[in-house]
Subunit: 333 residues, 2 copies
DNA sequence: CTTGTAACTGAAATGGGTGTCAAATCCACC
DNA sequence: GGTGGATTTGACACCCATTTCAGTTACAAG
């Protein structure tokens, strides 16, 4: 591994001059610079970013700590972050993504000295779970989580209003016995969505009780819920699943049992995964622009890093939109 | 930012001792260690990984340089890599993913001093395009690309035999006029797939000419190809698209035009994106285990890093499998 | 009470660059 | 030729931790 010292020696100058020349400081004579560049090229010199970032106190990398996400959500998030970060010429350092809380805290610590800033998505969307790690010395933006003591900037999706929207849509389409398949109890997104469902139900159909089947955001929960609903010969005319994954498999199962989704039973999900548009009937769902979630967070972090002081109340809540499709309208397709 | 020096001072010991204590070297007295740990906790000390990696000559990070991939491929790849790397406690540093060749070379260089090893997927699957960057001083494994001068280990998918398999399957199902929608001309995967198609066609149906429509791996190419085929009132009984993305949209377009896919025309793709199973009819395609591709490459790199000398011929070719579904069998669904 | 050995501990070198400050060089002008 | 000022250049401290090597201490044996 050739160092700048060797380049300097080969060019017959000091390391300081070599450093200046290679970093394009105009203070170096054209002649000297040429010598140095020739030597560097000759020796195939590549600067050691690690060493450089030590003195510069700047790594040009930002750390991303995500829980164990499913495919599309993950890649869209990364894409969004990357989009925002690309222009700034920074790298993305992915921390351990296997989300127990302790591991996450560890992952955050191991980022010290490697990155200039952090994008953290806490497991279960609960910033609190990060505990005293919140005393981070390093600029951080929370993804999809709100700190209770609003001192960390965040970007999150408005799960609550999304759930209200989609449930209200079901009501508007004539549904009265609306089942909700929830996400994991410990998950904040899940509980916000459930709350939205409960609230709008009470507001619009005060007299009916919410019907909630526990789920876990995974396919099998969709299947199980379908079985349960069918076997019990349960009375229901619509299902709002807390995410698309469950909705998709629930729908497949209902269809298999001869239920006409979109007519006999309306089904809606949450997330708008790409799949939602391709199954038949297409799935009505709540669309969150994950790419935008990622890029907004990254841009916010970039601003933070450039010294801009975001107020204590700095947070963005991204409003989801309703994607109405055939699974609740019965339209062909 | 508190440094180990401050911890040492607070504990009344030298930095050397502090370092030893904090790194669990048994050589330190229990009493001394306790003092140091107390001081560290008190000051909220977090080690500076950047500085540490400078002296250790080891960063515990591996660099990943991918071209601009579409969602699922990307996330599965990362997942595979992460799976293999997780146990080794390493981080993943994502380089610039916006793949012009020059940018890729730059991205590789900027990894020097940041990572212990590199996983590189060259744009267009052409290792050659990386040119003299191949004189890397840093352990590297190529993803989905073979170097012409087999001196860099690699892991890649056997596109050629995959294409042969799927084309042969179409022939076995009775197709005789098989159209191929190719990928971008400069893309190596695309040309290998095309070659597989050509070869098996010649071997099995010596007298028929291959029919090739140029594509680009994107949805619109699928739609365009469908239009072209339909408008010209072309005679064809099967289509093999060079990837699923094109196959899916082609199929949608054909279906819209009243063609019964799986009966009138057989359609097959390549990649087995999750979507393939969810559209109707389900798409016959070539399944490559991308997660395995990623994890194999990562494991190979890990072996390389642990000092193991992989022979000059170190390369793994992952054989894809054929996923036969309704789009070529006409089965219900 | 020495001496030898083992166990700890600390000063300083190291890793590969950058930035500061002082020294050296250059040139113009008196 | 000497002087002032502006440019360039170089020596060295520094970033923060690890590690070597030498020094200190403790303790047992002689």
């Amino acid at each position: 591994m050739v160092t700048i010292r060797e380049v300097a020696k080969a060019a017959g100058v000091s390391v300081a001059t070599a450093s200046r020349a290679l970093n394009g400081l105009s203070i170096v004579t054209a002649e000297t610079r040429a010598k140095i560049e020739a030597a560097a090229a000759e020796l195939n010199y590549v600067p050691h970013s690690g060493a450089r970032s030590l003195t510069r106190r700047k790594t040009d990398a930002i750390g991303v700590i995500l829980p164990d996400l499913f495919g599309e959500f993950f890649s869209e998030m990364i894409r969004g972050i990357d989009m925002a970060v690309h222009g700034a010429g920074k790298h993305l350092l992915l921390g351990n993504m296997h989300g127990s809380t302790e591991e996450t805290v560890l992952a955050i610590k191991s980022m010290r000295g490697r990155v200039d800033g952090l994008l953290v998505m806490p497991p279960n969307s609960r910033a609190e779970s990060l505990g005293d790690a919140a005393t981070w010395q390093i600029p951080t933006v929370l993804l999809n989580a709100q700190p209770q003591n609003g001192d960390i900037p965040f970007v999150s999706v408005d799960n609550y209003s999304g759930a209200r929207m989609v449930t209200e849509h079901l009501i508007d389409r004539g549904a009265r016995k609306i089942v909700h398949i929830s996400g994991p109890a410990s998950n904040r997104d899940a509980s916000e969505r459930m709350q939205g469902y409960r609230d709008i139900l009470r507001e619009r159909l005060g007299d009916t009780h919410p019907i909630i089947l526990p789920g876990n955001f995974r396919e099998d929960a969709g299947r199980n819920a379908a079985q349960l609903l069918l076997n019990r010969d349960f009375e229901f005319d619509a299902v709002f699943a807390a995410n698309d994954m469950m909705a998709v498999d629930l729908m497949a199962e209902l269809t298999r049992a001869g239920v006409r989704v979109g007519h006999d039973v309306l089904v809606a999900g949450f997330d708008d995964i790409p799949l939602a548009r391709y199954i038949s009937p297409q799935l009505t769902t709540v669309h969150s622009d994950i790419t935008r979630l990622g890029s907004s967070a990254a841009m916010m972090l970039l601003r933070l890093l450039s010294g801009e002081a975001l107020g204590a109340d700095a947070g963005i809540t991204i409003s989801p939109t309703l994607a109405v499709r055939a699974s609740t309208t019965g339209a062909s397709g």
